[in-house]
C-alpha cells in the first residue's frame, strides 16, 4: 500500500477542485460513477485498466461529495429566512458548540429542531449562529427555546454558517430541562473551561490570552496589535493549536503514563482517546484534526508494529477532513496546515542534501542549521498562499521562526505544566506562572525586534 493513499487523496482532491470551478450536474456524474464502478468490478484482474478506471472513480467521488454539500434539505433553517423579512422567529433546539461570552453577549452555534414564524410551525434542521444578550451561563448541549430575528450572513456563508439569530429581548431565551450534548464533547468542553479558568486566574490578561491561544487555540482574547505583529513576522502559526501542540500533548501524556509504569502498548492505547479529547476541546479545526489523525495513525502503526508512512498519514488526515466537509479544501487554515507539512516532508530532505547540512560536524550548529531548513521549507511552501490571501511577504519569517518557535515550545510546555501543577498542587503554581509571564514578554519583545528590522515585511 506504499503511497497508494497519497495518490488516492490526490485524485479525490482533484475531483473537489474540478467541481468547485466547473459546474456539473449530480445525476449524470453519479451514473458515470456507477458505470465506472461496474467496469472496475469486472476488470478487477486487469492491472493497468483497473488503475485508470479506479482513479477516475475516486475523482468523480470527490466531485459528488462536494456537489452534495451544495444542496440543503427543504427543512434546512436557511430555507425559512427571507429577504427583508422582519418577523420574529421562535426556534427550539440545543447548543451545539461551546458558548463564548464577551461583554454580556453570548455566542454559540444552535442546532435547530423546530421553528415558528408568521403563525406557522415547521420541523427544521441545520445550525445557526446565536448572539444572545444574557447574563446567565449556558453550556454545550442545553436545550433552549429562543425568540428573535434571524438574518442571512454574507461573510460567514463559506464557513457553514447559514443564519444568525440575535436574541436581545429579556426573557427571550427559555431553558428546557433537556440536554442533547454528546458526553465526550461535554467532557472536552468541561476540561477546556477548567484549563481556561486556571490560565486566566494565574496570569495577567495579556499573558493569559497568548497562552490560551497557544494551549487551547482560543484566539479571541488576543489584542489586535499583538496578532498583527505576529502576522508581520510570519509567526502567527504559534498562536493556533497545530501539530506542534498535539505533539507536546502526546509527549506529556506518554511521559505521565511512563511514570505510572504502564506498558508501551497500554500507553499508546491510552494516548489515543486523550488526543481525541484535546482535539475536541480545541474546537477540532483542520490543523488540529490533521495532527490528531496523523498522531493516531502513527500510534496505531507503532502498536501494530507496522512502519507508518508520513505521506500516507498526511493524506489520511486530509481525506478524513474532506470526507466530513469537502469545502474545507478551500479554507485558508486547511491549505496552510497541509501545505506547510507537505513542504516540510518533501522539500526539507532536498534542501538538507542541497546545503549539505549533514556535513556540519558540530552538533548544536547542525541542529540550528536543520531548524533553519525546516523553517525555510515551510516558508517556501506557504509563501505563495500567504501572498495570495494576506498580501504580505515577510522575508524575516525564517529568521523569526528560528528564535520564536523554541520560545513558543517553552511557553506551551510551561503552560501545560502550570495547568497540571495548579490541578494537583495549586500552592506550587506561583513560580510556573512567573516563568510563563517572563517567556511571553520575551516572545513579544523578540517578535517586536524582528518586525522592526529593515524590509522585515512588505505589503503588496
Amino acid at each position: 500500500m506504499k503511497l497508494n493513499l497519497a495518490e488516492l487523496g490526490f485524485y479525490f482532491c482533484g475531483g473537489i477542485v474540478f467541481t468547485h470551478f466547473i459546474r456539473i450536474s449530480f445525476w449524470p456524474a453519479y451514473f458515470l460513477a456507477f458505470t465506472l464502478l461496474l467496469a472496475c468490478a469486472f476488470l478487477v484482474g486487469k492491472n493497468f485498466i483497473f488503475k485508470i478506471l479506479f482513479a477516475c472513480l475516486i475523482f468523480i467521488l470527490g466531485c459528488l461529495l462536494l456537489k452534495n454539500t451544495y444542496i440543503l434539505p427543504q427543512s434546512h433553517i436557511s430555507r425559512f429566512i427571507f429577504y427583508k423579512n422582519n418577523s420574529v422567529y421562535t426556534a427550539r433546539g440545543f447548543i451545539n458548540s461551546q458558548p463564548y461570552s464577551k461583554d454580556g453577549r453570548i455566542s454559540f452555534m444552535f442546532a435547530t429542531q423546530e421553528l415558528q414564524f408568521n403563525d406557522s410551525n415547521y420541523k427544521c434542521s441545520g445550525d445557526i449562529l446565536v448572539q444572545l444578550k444574557d447574563t446567565r451561563a449556558f453550556s454545550y448541549g442545553e436545550a433552549l427555546i429562543l425568540r428573535g430575528n434571524i438574518h442571512r450572513p454574507f461573510k460567514l456563508y463559506g464557513k457553514n454558517i447559514y443564519a444568525i439569530m440575535r436574541v436581545s429581548m429579556p426573557g427571550s431565551a427559555v431553558r428546557l430541562a433537556k440536554n442533547y450534548g454528546q458526553p465526550v464533547r461535554k467532557f472536552a468542553f468541561y476540561l477546556k473551561d477548567r484549563i481556561e479558568s486556571i490560565i486566566y486566574r494565574k496570569l495577567p490578561p495579556l499573558t493569559a490570552s497568548i497562552l490560551d491561544a497557544m494551549v487551547l487555540g482560543e484566539k479571541r482574547g488576543i489584542p489586535a496589535q499583538v496578532y498583527d505583529a505576529m502576522v508581520k513576522s510570519g509567526t502567527v502559526h504559534i498562536l493556533v493549536v497545530s501539530g506542534f501542540n498535539v505533539g507536546i500533548v502526546a509527549f506529556m501524556i506518554m511521559l505521565l503514563l511512563k511514570v505510572l509504569r504502564l506498558t508501551r502498548a497500554l500507553r499508546y492505547i491510552t494516548a489515543i482517546p486523550c488526543l481525541v479529547i484535546y482535539c475536541l476541546a480545541t474546537g477540532a479545526s483542520p490543523p488540529v484534526v490533521r495532527a490528531t489523525v496523523m498522531a493516531i495513525f502513527f500510534l496505531t502503526g507503532f502498536l501494530l508494529r507496522r512502519e507508518p508512512d508520513v505521506r500516507n498519514s498526511l493524506t489520511l488526515s486530509a481525506l478524513f477532513i474532506l470526507w466530513i466537509n469537502p469545502r474545507e479544501l478551500f479554507s485558508i487554515s486547511f491549505q496552510l496546515s497541509f501545505v506547510s507539512v507537505a513542504a516540510i516532508i518533501f522539500l526539507y530532505p532536498q534542501l538538507k542534501a542541497f546545503f549539505k547540512a549533514e556535513a556540519i560536524k558540530v552538533r548544536p550548529l547542525r541542529f540550528i542549521a536543520e531548524g533553519c531548513l525546516v523553517s525555510l521549507s515551510a516558508w517556501l511552501g506557504t509563501c505563495g498562499f500567504i501572498l495570495y490571501y494576506f498580501k504580505i511577504l515577510s522575508p524575516v519569517t525564517v529568521l523569526a521562526n528560528i528564535c520564536i518557535v523554541p520560545l513558543a515550545t517553552l511557553i506551551t510546555l510551561s503552560g501545560f505544566s502550570l495547568v497540571v501543577i495548579t490541578l494537583i498542587f495549586p500552592a506550587l503554581a506561583g513560580p510556573f506562572a512567573w516563568a510563563n509571564e517572563l517567556f511571553v514578554v520575551l516572545l513579544l519583545k523578540t517578535n517586536n525586534f524582528f518586525i522592526h528590522l529593515p524590509y522585515a515585511c512588505l505589503y503588496l
Partner: protein, 109 residues
C-alpha cells in the same frame, strides 16, 4: 501507481460502492424533502405547560426564581392543577408586571 493487491482492490471497491450509495441517497433525500408544517406546537416549543413543568423548567423562564417556581408547584398541588394562566396572579411574588412578562412563555393543558 496504485499498486493494490486483488484483495485490496475488492475492499476498496466495496467501500466506494457503499459511499456512492450513501451520497446518492442523501442527495435524493435533500432534493425531494419538503418542509413539514406542524399542526400544533410540540409541548416544549415556545410555551411551557404549567400543569406538567417541573421546578427546573419553570426556573428557566426569566423572572421566575427558585422561590416562585416552588410556590407555583405548591399551588398546583393544592388546587389539583391550573385551569388558566391568569391564576398565576394569585401567587405571592407574581406582580402584574411580572405576570405580563412571563405569561407568553406559559400555557395550561
Amino acid at each position: 501507481m496504485l499498486n493494490l493487491t486483488q484483495e485490496e482492490r475488492k475492499v476498496m471497491l466495496f467501500l466506494v460502492t457503499i459511499a456512492l450509495i450513501g451520497v446518492g441517497s442523501n442527495f435524493l433525500i435533500k432534493q425531494f424533502s419538503t418542509a413539514k408544517s406542524i399542526a400544533c406546537f410540540s409541548q416544549d416549543l415556545a410555551r411551557i405547560n404549567l400543569n406538567s413543568a417541573d421546578k427546573k423548567l419553570l426556573m428557566g423562564i426569566s423572572g421566575i426564581g427558585e422561590k416562585i417556581a416552588g410556590r407555583i408547584i405548591e399551588y398546583r398541588q393544592k388546587r389539583a392543577g391550573f385551569s388558566n394562566v391568569d391564576e398565576l396572579k394569585a401567587i405571592k411574588g407574581i406582580t402584574d408586571s411580572k405576570f405580563a412578562k412571563i405569561k407568553e412563555y406559559l400555557t395550561v393543558k
